[in-house]
Amino acid sequence: MKEIELITIVTESVIQSRLIEDLQRVGARGWTLSTAQGAGPRNRRVSEVEGGNIRVEVLADSITIERIWQLLHESYFPNYAVSAWQSTVLVSRSDRYSNDTQKDGA
């Protein structure tokens, strides 16, 4: 069991494919996505017509997570409805999620 970081991002579904591409570009090696609804202090979006929110989880090493936060700050927080939070979790087979030690070579 090893510690790794988990970031959860809730945002407008209209930007799903852009977000996934961006996440992979900054180093995420995987992601899990569910659909969601929600409300927040901003609530300025088009998603109602387009199918609500998405909730994306990414497990990654802390350097990648750092880069994801930067990405959110630059390209997403200013203009889109986004909430995001980070926590530390335990995983087994941690090299699946991390770019530090690419032992499994996938």
């Binding site: 407008e12 209209v14 930007i15 494919s17 852009r18 659909t35 300025r44 979006r45 088009v46 109602e48 017509v49 387009e50 199918g51 609500g52 200013p78 203009n79 889109y80």
Partner: protein
């Protein structure tokens, strides 16, 4: 057909099941009991309508004379470029919106609304008025240019550089364009005989499915109503006056392009209607700074109900009035 019978047509249009379903949807929001379709069903319904419209149009296109279709297509492209320019200027005059929001609005009003178009077809069919079967081709043609021009206006006048990464794809290869175009081509290839085998599904159910879809649209429009109250007279005026203007422009252009009464009226409806599916998605990606509240309130909260309930019979009456001179 005199004014009296036109008005009775307007009433019977209002009393059609699809329009009443829309009203039911709006009312349900007021009663805090949204009658929304589950999201996957709403999406499937919209896929169905796009394919069905495309198929029928493609079958008709095949039966048409290339010469009869060419001029209306060219005219439609011209309107698709002109209308967003008009919207951009009109809004500068009637509202205080910044160039980005005006560009976003221009993109919405330059594009078209599938459901308004569809309701107009149903209106003409109920009234037994002929229209050129290839009209869905014009719907497809008018979908795209307005969005592109609107976005370009926003970029130019806000001096921002465009990150056109995904909006180009979204505009040109969005699902609605693909389904409409795909349907058109399939209809064209399969012809009357092939269409016959799927007619009970894509033809027979059409008006009923439209009613279900409009129930949902009523909920979405109803949710915008509170925003309409705070929208400002300039925006409300735009959302009603501009469609009348472009609707009339479309009708006149339709006659000049050689369309029949029904065809000219439908081109008017296409010009008058504002997009609330393709444009919002593209604008959200391409102009994230634009306020979607404004564009949706205007297009979905005002223009769409106006066109559905008042506009469609009105454009028909205008088309009738102009038929003597231009038809």
């Amino acid at each position: 057909m005199d004014l009296g019978s036109s008005l009775s047509l307007a009433v019977s249009s209002f009393l059609s099941v699809p329009v009443l379903a829309f009203v039911l949807g709006v009312i349900s929001v007021g009663l805090k009991a949204d009658l929304r379709l589950p999201d996957p069903v709403y999406q499937a319904t919209s896929i169905y309508l796009l394919l069905a419209i495309g198929l029928k149009g493609g079958v008709a296109l095949r039966a048409s004379n290339a010469g009869d279709v060419a001029l209306p297509i060219v005219v439609a492209i011209g309107l698709g470029i002109l209308i967003p320019l008009l919207a951009f200027v009109f809004l500068q005059w009637s509202t205080k919106l910044n160039p980005i929001d005006r560009g976003a609005m221009a993109a919405h009003y330059g594009s078209t609304s599938l459901v308004t178009f569809t309701a107009a077809l149903v209106f003409l069919e109920s009234a037994d008025v002929f229209y050129e079967g290839f009209m869905p081709t014009l719907l497809t043609v008018l979908e795209i240019p307005g969005i592109v021009v609107g976005l370009l206006l926003a970029y130019k006048f806000s001096q921002r550089t465009s990150d056109s990464r995904d909006w180009m794809r979204e505009v040109f290869l969005g699902k609605s364009v693909l389904l409409l175009l795909g349907g058109l081509i399939i209809g064209f290839l399969t012809g009357v005989q092939g269409y016959e085998r799927v007619e009970p599904f894509f033809g027979g159910l059409f008006t009923g499915v439209l009613a279900l879809f409009l129930l949902e649209m009523g909920v979405l429009a109803g949710r915008r109503l509170p925003d309409v109250r705070t929208a400002g007279i300039g925006l409300i005026g735009f959302a009603i006056v501009f469609p009348l203007l472009t609707g009339s422009l479309g009708i006149v252009s339709g006659y000049l392009a050689g369309l029949s009464l029904g065809g000219a009226m439908i081109l008017g409806v296409l010009c008058a209607s504002a997009s609330y599916i393709a444009a919002p998605a593209a604008v959200r990606l391409a102009l994230p700074q634009a306020n979607p509240g404004i564009t949706l309130t205007s297009s979905l909260g005002i223009t769409f109900p106006f066109n559905l309930i008042i506009g469609i019979p009105l454009y028909f009456i205008i088309a009738q009035a102009l038929e003597g001179w231009l038809g």
